[in-house]
Amino acid sequence: MNMLASIPGVLDAAVLAQASAPAPMAQSQLAHYMFISAALFAIGLIGFLTRRNLIIMFLCTELMFQAAGVALIAFSRFHMNMTGQTFVIFILTVAAAEAAMALALVVLLFRRRESLNAEEFSEMKG
């Protein structure tokens, strides 16, 4: 620790002070995060609508979940409260539960049809 601190710029007082009391985020900086998050969401949505492999489709919905997570963390820093970060922890949990379920479904379907193409699952119509 001391050795690290002796290296200039690694753990000097200014950095530590910043870590304990972060400055609020500027609106222009927030825009960068919003841009990333919107792009992730759009990629996920487009992927979901165009791809036909069930696993890829599921990954696309996960991408959309994480897009919301990025937005929440950026907003959390922007508003200087922890609610957004708390939300993200819960989102991760729900995403894990959804992943477990998606994989279970995929295993079940693959055993029956030997395929993961969404087009194969269109027996019912009308």
């Binding site: 222009s28 841009f35 708390t86 991760l92 992943a99 994989l103």
Partner: protein, 132 residues
């Protein structure tokens, strides 16, 4: 939001960009340097999959037993549970010594851990832990 991509803000990412560039450059350079400098001796044995020095058997494109999936699920319960322990553990020391709320905080997290126990009891009865 008018200065949406103002360069003054992006300039703070310059070190990250440089490090990324250096990392990629190092990897690509090494790849080409070994191609140019390294001696080349090809053979059938050399092209084989490395299996800790043993002669590899069977094919890698094999389906795993679905039991591995069950193990993964049991792990996932634990894995996700831990995310919630961290925020708790970082805020618990903030309580003053002898605070009467401490016992409530502690019992809450124990109740939460108890739910994992329920999941494991369920897994045990379902036969997830029978390795035969």
């Amino acid at each position: 939001m008018s200065n949406f991509l103002a360069t003054s803000d992006l300039s703070s990412y310059l070190p990250i960009f440089l490090v990324t560039l250096m990392a990629a450059g190092f990897a690509i350079a090494n790849f080409f340097i070994t191609m140019i400098l390294g001696p080349k001796r090809d053979g059938k044995v050399k092209g084989e999959t490395y299996e800790s020095g043993m002669v590899p058997m069977g094919t890698a494109r094999k389906r795993f037993n679905v039991r591995f999936y069950l193990i993964a699920m049991v792990f996932l319960v634990f894995d996700v549970e831990i995310i919630f322990l961290y925020p708790w553990a970082t805020t618990f020391p903030n309580l003053a010594h002898g605070d009467s709320n401490a016992i409530i905080w502690l019992s809450r997290i124990f109740f939460f851990l108890l739910t994992t126990v329920v999941a494991y009891v369920y897994g045990y009865r379902k036969g997830v832990f029978k390795f035969d």
